[in-house]
């Protein structure tokens, strides 16, 4: 694919595109605030098994007990008003299998976001979540025949407990952190996916998460199990309208790659600037397996997200490629975790962040080779680009190494776009903004190549939008 095609087939998605909303009209509403009754309401509506209900209630207790991580994290967390948030809103629990059956306002929402069009073009399946529940969910029939399961979290636990229950909450235990506990108590929606042995999906599955309601918390739960020798790419996108008040998104995503399986998980996060985005993502890679996180954070007020891979089997590989763009008033607090637990495991982290205006981007990383392991490798690169004189970036890696013939390498650098570079490009006729956009796109260019084409186009557009007005 040459760069010609990328530019010619640009998909028009931009930051403003998600900024619209439809009137709120819900059949199910758990009300405002969080207590045992909220949890019981969600469980009742979903007609859940007792063990799920107990799982939720126990998680609520853990959530209440755990302190906010403000000892090290952004103090802005204190501004989340848990008592003013609505924890469950839906029009019904069953997703439609055709777009025609989706309620008009919801359908129009996703059409404006281009989801049905993308589905036709290049996706193997789509799930579209509107507030707490999926409004649409469909996968290509031939995949169903091959035994691929692609359902929501409730349906997955209800219909296929023998497949999902053994891994549910195991990669990320409820008590992992305060927000994984919150999600475990309140989860609704998300994708549960099982790819049988040897099945290799050629096209990605996609989920799109949409928040429509104000003062709302979205808590989707995703669990992907790739059985031996299988392969899957999963992509998620997210938007919300710009509300006056803060909105909360707190997901838990667990990936299980069994022997020699490959999972690639791609996120383009473009929440509006009032969303607290506090997400826990972790994958487990068995022998010879590969888990790759490609994570782009453009939107939100505060994002805290450190995708991780537990390299459990010999020869497992983990990778995190991340791009973060922090504009004025935003804090992108992102990073990666690589836990090496077997010989010959390798991990790679590349993080690129751009801070604009008073925007702040933070990288937090953990690389752990704690035991007597052999021949493990980690490579970490963190590059920060600071656009304005008062932009901010922080880097806080933590690396522990033991064992034989292991190598760990961490490098970080900070750069800016020089005035001479901008002058050079302007001399060729580009405006200052265009020149800045080009330089920023150049900065992330090598990472963009790791993306499926459609996403890199979208990302480039998003960056261009964010760069507008950043200079001068």
């Amino acid at each position: 694919m040459s760069d010609t095609d990328i530019q010619d087939e640009a998909i028009n998605v931009d930051t403003e595109k998600g900024n619209f909303k439809y009137p709120e009209n819900y059949a199910y509403d758990a009300g405002v605030g969080l207590n045992e009754d909220t949890i019981k309401y969600i469980s009742d509506v979903k007609k859940e098994a007792d063990w799920v209900r107990e799982f939720r209630l126990k998680a609520l207790e853990i959530f209440k007990k755990k302190p906010m991580p403000t000892k090290w994290a952004d103090q802005d967390l204190e501004n989340i008003k848990f008592d003013e948030i609505r924890y469950y809103l839906s029009k019904g629990q069953q997703p439609s299998r055709t777009w025609d059956e989706v309620p008009d306002d919801v359908k129009e929402t996703f059409e404006r976001l281009g989801i049905p069009e993308q589905e036709r073009k290049f996706l193997a399946g789509v799930e579209a979540q509107f507030d707490s529940e999926a409004a649409y969910s469909r996968m290509k029939e031939d995949l169903e025949k091959e035994g691929v399961i692609f359902v929501g979290s409730s349906e997955g636990l209800e219909k296929y407990p023998e497949i999902f229950k053994p891994y549910f909450g195991k990669v990320i235990p409820t008590a992992d952190n305060k927000f994984s506990a919150l999600n475990s108590a309140t989860f609704s929606g998300g994708s549960f996916i099982y790819v049988p042995k040897g099945v290799k999906l050629k096209q990605p599955l996609q989920a799109y998460f949409r928040i429509n309601a104000e003062n709302f918390g979205q808590f989707e739960r995703t669990l992907i199990i790739a059985d031996e020798d299988s392969e899957i790419t999963y992509m998620e996108g997210c938007t919300a309208p710009k509300f006056e008040t803060a909105t909360l998104h707190s997901a838990v995503v667990e990936l299980v790659a069994l022997k020699n399986a490959k999972i690639q998980y791609i996120t383009v996060q473009n929440w509006s600037s009032n969303v607290f985005n506090l997400v826990t993502k972790r994958g487990m890679a068995d022998e010879g397996a590969e888990v790759k996180w490609i994570d782009c954070n453009i939107g939100s007020r505060l994002t805290m997200k450190y995708p991780g891979v537990v390299l459990k089997g010999k020869g497992a590989r983990g990778e995190v490629l991340s791009i973060a763009l922090a504009n004025d008033g935003q804090h992108q607090d992102t990073g990666a975790k690589m836990i090496h637990l077997a010989d010959n495991t390798t991990s790679n982290i590349i993080s690129k962040s751009i801070s604009i205006g008073k925007g702040r981007s933070t990288y937090r990383g953990q690389v752990h080779m704690p035991k007597h392991l052999k021949n493990c490798k980690n490579n970490t690169e963190c590059d920060a680009l600071l656009i304005n004189t008062n932009s901010r970036t922080d880097t806080y890696p933590a690396i522990t190494t033991r064992g034989e013939n292991n190598t760990v390498q961490h490098e970080a650098s900070v750069s800016k776009v020089s005035a001479e570079q901008i002058f050079y490009m302007m001399q060729r006729g580009l405006s200052e903004g265009e020149a800045m956009s080009l330089a920023v796109n150049g900065f992330v260019n090598d990472l963009m190549k790791a993306f499926p084409m459609e996403y890199s186009v979208e990302l480039k557009r998003l960056i261009d939008m964010e760069m507008e007005g950043s200079v001068g």
């Binding site: 530019q7 570079q421 302007m426 060729r428 006729g429 580009l430 200052e432 080009l438 150049g442």
Partner: protein, 253 residues
């Protein structure tokens, strides 16, 4: 009609005068060479013409096709038809040559009009072939890791792709071996025509063996002190700049 008219240009940086009542006129279609010792203000002139903001323009005018461009932003000046081949082209990591030139071309089109990609690449490849540039270069980051000669060829490639009316070449010969010099010069000569003017800034006469100028100016301490035909460059080469100083600067007016 003159392509370029510079009238009584006075420029300073940090309070120090660099260009002093500088005057220069280049009629349409002519190639003028500007020579002079180091530190005399040649590169400052080039940057001021292109709208660099580090310099303070005290007074004067720079007319490009009759319109004053002084004070305009660099991109507006570029779009008005002035191209500056940099002495030290900047490296732009991650931005490929193809995408960069394309963005520059796109900037010259009216709103809503898009470049025809097929024709663009056809033209780009043809011009790269003429400059003996490997087509693989299109995917490489602009100037990053290029040798001196590759950078200068890339400047000429951009010049020919952007179709300027006035080309200012700032020490384009510096850092070039004789083969690269010949290729770069051929590229420039191919662009010579009745509608386009050139200002070739150089310290050495060597480049002017390949790009034969219509007029040669000698610059000293912020202004042109002497002008002549192509033979003047050869005279300078043999007699050196001290001769200029004795003959034209120190001599009574």
């Amino acid at each position: 009609m003159n392509t370029l008219e510079i009238k009584n240009l006075n420029v300073s940086i940090d309070g120090q005068a660099i260009l002093k009542d500088f005057n220069l006129t280049i009629p349409k279609g002519e190639v003028h060479a500007l020579m002079g010792p180091n530190g005399t203000g040649k590169s400052t002139l080039a940057k001021v013409m292109a709208g660099h903001e580090d310099y303070t323009v005290e007074s004067g005018e720079i007319l490009l096709d009759g319109v004053n461009i002084l004070g305009e932003d660099p991109d507006e000046i570029a779009k008005a038809g002035l191209f500056l081949a940099f002495q030290y082209p900047l490296e732009i990591p991650g931005v490929s040559i193809a995408n960069f030139i394309r963005a520059a071309r796109q900037a010259r089109l009216p709103e809503g009009e898009d470049i025809n990609a097929v024709e663009y690449y056809k033209e780009l490849y043809a011009k790269m072939d003429a400059l003996k540039m490997d087509r693989k270069f299109t995917a490489r980051s602009l100037n990053e890791g290029f040798s001196g000669g590759e950078k200068k060829r890339c400047e000429i490639l951009q010049m020919s792709m952007l179709n300027p009316t006035c080309c200012v070449m700032d020490e384009t010969d510096s850092g070039l071996d004789i083969d690269a010099l010949r290729i770069v010069s051929e590229g420039v000569n191919l662009m010579r025509g009745p509608e386009r003017s050139f200002l070739v800034i150089t310290h050495y006469q060597r480049l002017l063996d390949y790009i034969v100028p219509d007029v040669v100016h000698v610059m000293f301490d912020g202004k042109i002190v002497h002008s002549g035909d192509a033979e003047l460059a050869k005279e300078l080469e043999s007699k050196g700049y001290d001769w200029v100083q004795e003959e034209f600067v120190n001599a009574p007016a």
